[in-house]
């Protein structure tokens, strides 16, 4: 026990670390839901559904939004604040579009006769799992909005990229989570 702890030069910021643990935690919730899906899909009364096409559009939207947010982060690091504001705004809009598209997808599915009542099926899980995912995206949108407003009205000039990085990491996470959920429904659903 004589070794003195070597302070590494690039230590992970506590907030970033907290985010990674939170991501693990969120993953556990979706792991619980998707494993419940697998268990249920082997029981009687199960019905599969066709994934509405609009979810492919929303996939494209959230992928692009990840890209714009990454560009925003780069702009912030290079202190190009106008470009940063523009890209943050764009990401925010794309995020909202994503949630709206999800809602349209749900409505389409609902009109096809996939309801909550009666026998269980992939549709009910889809509403809940995609709905919870959309809630997590909404959380990200609120964070984006806060950052966006700060970029315009912030009284204190912030030079630390940490808040932007935290939001970006979270946003990429919900993006990848969405891809996972979509692939999951395409293969097993």
């Amino acid at each position: 026990m004589e070794t003195v702890m070597n302070q590494p030069k690039k230590k992970l910021h506590p907030h970033k670390f907290t985010l990674w643990v939170a991501i693990a935690s969120i993953l556990m919730m979706f792991a619980g839901l998707t494993s419940a899906f697998i268990v249920k899909s082997n029981l009687v009364g199960w019905s599969n559904i066709a994934i509405p096409k609009i979810f492919w559009v929303s996939t494209a939207v959230i992928l692009v939004s990840s890209l714009t947010l990454q560009m925003a982060l780069r702009a912030f690091r290079q202190r190009e604040m106008n470009q940063y504001r523009m890209l943050m705004g764009l990401t925010f809009v794309l995020g909202c579009v994503f949630v709206v598209l999800q809602w349209i997808g749900f409505k389409g599915l609902w009109n096809q006769g996939v309801h909550f009542t009666g026998a269980a099926g992939a549709g009910q899980f889809l509403y809940i799992i995609f709905g919870l995912h959309a809630l997590h995206v909404l959380g990200g949108i609120i964070a984006l909005l806060v950052m966006f407003i700060k970029a315009f009205f912030g009284k204190v000039k912030l030079y630390s990229a940490v808040p932007v990085e935290v939001v970006a990491t979270y946003w990429h996470f919900v993006d990848i989570l969405w891809i996972y959920l979509l692939v999951f429904f395409l293969i097993i659903g």
Binding site: K11, H13, A22, M29, V44, T117, G118, A119, I128
Partner: protein, 602 residues
């Protein structure tokens, strides 16, 4: 120092740090100091006091249903005065009984022994013992308490509903918990329960995130992971367990909410209630049990690990000896943490689980005996030939070891799927988990309170009352729960309202009366402890030295009443592990003291 301090400049605490260096304390309103406080020490006290209030409520519930179990059907007119139609004619009504049992479990497991125990001591000890000004995110920390408070309000509110609180057992198994037609408690009460628990889970997640990132990122200079006190290690593993298992319960709770209110059939299938055929099809009640116990089993260790950590620390300090086998203690904590996730199905041996799968879970369950035995061995060898100081905290720590041994042994019985066929759902199970998890963790909590009360409030608890509290509680705990093993072995079921028509159990009538009487006495003594607690906050003997127990860890290098930011000057640097007791002829060497030239190794 620079690296550790540098981090703080980004967090909200830095503000305070500057001030505390200049002029002691700075101005805070009552609201920001005591109510919406971001100081981890104040939040810890909030958790503790809320936990104490919950413990009184949960304990009172057990006294009430023990009245029914000890004296079935007998009238206690005073009950009608207080509880009205729930105790019509002074006898506890069936719905009341089941509500009491359910809420006793929910309150004690989640609100007292999770939030009250790890909430209090993680918040209090982590920054103080790793050498940090505050948590990684003080704001998130404050939110975690207030989500817990909101969850508490909803849970309390459910008790005042016309149809009563949830009453399908603390596990809330569907279909009983999902169908309002099935019993009164499954009407609005179950929704309150689920929403309250969802908020509770959010609170625990926010808390857990903070604990983990504080421990991993905010340690002071020199505080390597293997120089951390075992309390911190235990609280770390507790947080990991919580962060990974609570979300799974959340997913189960969400699905159950949908089944209850939207008409889905995740857990419901082929049900007829009172002649009414329900449309639900294809649901699986067992699925809920998997989701529940995937949290439920780690939850047991979420409750137990903080107690283990604090007991390790207190035993070492009051034996004036280094903890025996620090690395073994650490390894066994880690092993318990891993195994906790792999044994959940032992709660489901008799649900039609595949016997082969069952045998895998038997093996994994019995494996937990190994790290548990390592820990017990190390505690006993720490005590062995020590200079034991029987402080109240020490007594409770020793009591914890005693209870953990006697409760743990019956776990080996229950972990066998074959023996479980006979023992499941009997009083044997009740006896087992109350001793090993409930009372043992309570003892850990009492040990922690008696030990760190001087740090929390700058005063001591009254010793005479403390000794009385300890002996009555220890003897009482064994008198209450030991006989339940005999009842359970004879096949007496748990949860039943009235077993008196069951002729073969009549032999236990007077035994049950004895248990009930002891329960009342023990409960009264707990109230005495609560009196001691609150009285001593204001009138207790004042602490006059910074380090009253002669301990090595960092929390005793702070001022007697530390402000927000904990240390007035710089955060001290750590040079050694926290268990240098009785070394080289010295009683103890603080962690802050550099290693001497001729110092022997430990």
């Amino acid at each position: 120092m620079s690296e550790a301090l540098h981090i703080h400049h980004d967090t909200a605490v830095s503000h305070d740090v500057h001030h505390s260096g200049d002029h002691g304390h700075h101005h805070q309103s009552f609201i920001s100091k005591y109510v919406f406080s971001m100081d981890h020490k104040t939040i810890a006290k909030q958790f503790l006091i809320t936990g104490i209030i919950w413990a009184i409520i949960g304990g009172l519930f057990s006294v009430l249903f023990r009245l029914q179990l000890g004296f079935p059907g007998q009238s206690f007119p005073i009950l009608e005065t207080f509880f009205g139609h729930w105790a019509k004619g002074g006898t506890i009504q069936p719905e009341f009984y089941y509500a009491l049992v359910t809420m006793h479990g929910t309150v004690l497991v989640f609100f007292v022994l999770t939030a009250g125990l790890s909430g209090t001591f993680s918040n209090f000890l982590i920054p103080l013992q790793v050498g940090a000004r505050d948590m990684a995110s003080p704001f998130l920390n404050m939110l975690s308490y207030w989500f817990f408070f909101l969850a508490s309000v909803i849970m309390i509110a459910s008790m005042f509903l016309q149809t009563g609180p949830a009453s399908g057992g603390w596990t809330m198994y569907p279909p009983l918990s999902a169908l309002g037609q099935a019993n009164d408690g499954s009407k609005l009460g179950a929704d309150f329960w689920l929403i309250g628990m969802a908020l509770f889970i959010v609170s625990q997640l926010m808390a857990g995130l903070n604990y983990i990132s504080t421990i991993l990122n905010m340690r002071t200079k020199g505080m390597s992971m293997t120089r951390m006190p075992l309390t911190i290690w235990a609280l770390f593993f507790t947080a990991v367990l919580g962060v990974l298992s609570f979300p799974v319960l959340l997913s189960g709770a969400i699905l159950l909410l949908f089944d209850r209110n939207i008409g889905t059939s995740f857990f419901l299938s082929d049900i007829v209630v009172n002649g009414e055929v329900l449309p639900n099809e294809g649901g699986s009640a067992i699925l809920y049990q998997h989701l529940f116990w995937f949290l439920g089993h780690p939850e047991v260790y979420i409750i137990l690990l903080p107690a283990m950590g604090m007991v390790s620390e207190i035993l070492s300090i009051n034996s004036r000896k280094p903890i025996f086998g620090y690395m073994a203690m650490l390894g066994s904590l880690f092993a318990i943490c891993i195994l906790a996730f792999l044994v959940w199905a032992h709660h489901m041996f008799v649900t039609g689980l595949n016997p082969f799968l069952g045998s895998v879970f038997v093996l994994l369950t019995l494996l937990i005996a190994v790290p548990s035995a390592i820990k017990v061995f190390n505690w006993l060898t720490t005590l062995w030939r020590g200079n034991i100081r029987f402080t109240p905290a020490m007594l409770f720590a020793i009591g914890f070891v005693s209870l953990f041994i006697s409760g743990g042994l019956t776990g080996i019985f229950l972990g066998n799927s074959t023996i479980d066929i006979h023992l499941h759902d009997t009083m044997f199970v009740v006896a087992h988990f109350h001793i090993v998890m409930g009372v043992a963790s309570m003892f850990g909590m009492f040990a922690g309170i008696y030990h760190w009360f001087p740090k929390m409030f700058g005063r001591y608890l009254n010793n005479t009352l403390a000794y009385f509290h300890f002996w009555v509680t220890l003897v009482g705990a064994y008198l209450i729960f030991w006989p339940m093993h005999y009842e359970g072995l004879a096949g007496m079921p748990r949860r039943y309202l009235d077993k008196s028509i069951w002729v073969s159990f009549n032999q236990f009538g007077s035994l049950d009366q004895m248990i009930t009487i002891v329960t009342v006495i023990v409960f009264a003594v707990q109230l005495m402890f609560v009196f001691n607690f609150f009285y001593s906050i204001f009138k207790g003997r004042k602490v006059t030295t910074a380090n009253p127990w002669g301990a090595t860890t960092l929390e005793w290098t702070t001022p007697i009443r530390p402000g927000h930011g904990n240390w007035t000057g710089e955060i001290p640097e750590v040079h050694r592990w926290p268990y240098d007791y009785g070394k080289d002829g010295r009683d103890f060497i603080p962690q802050t003291e550099p290693i001497g030239a001729n110092e022997s190794k430990h």
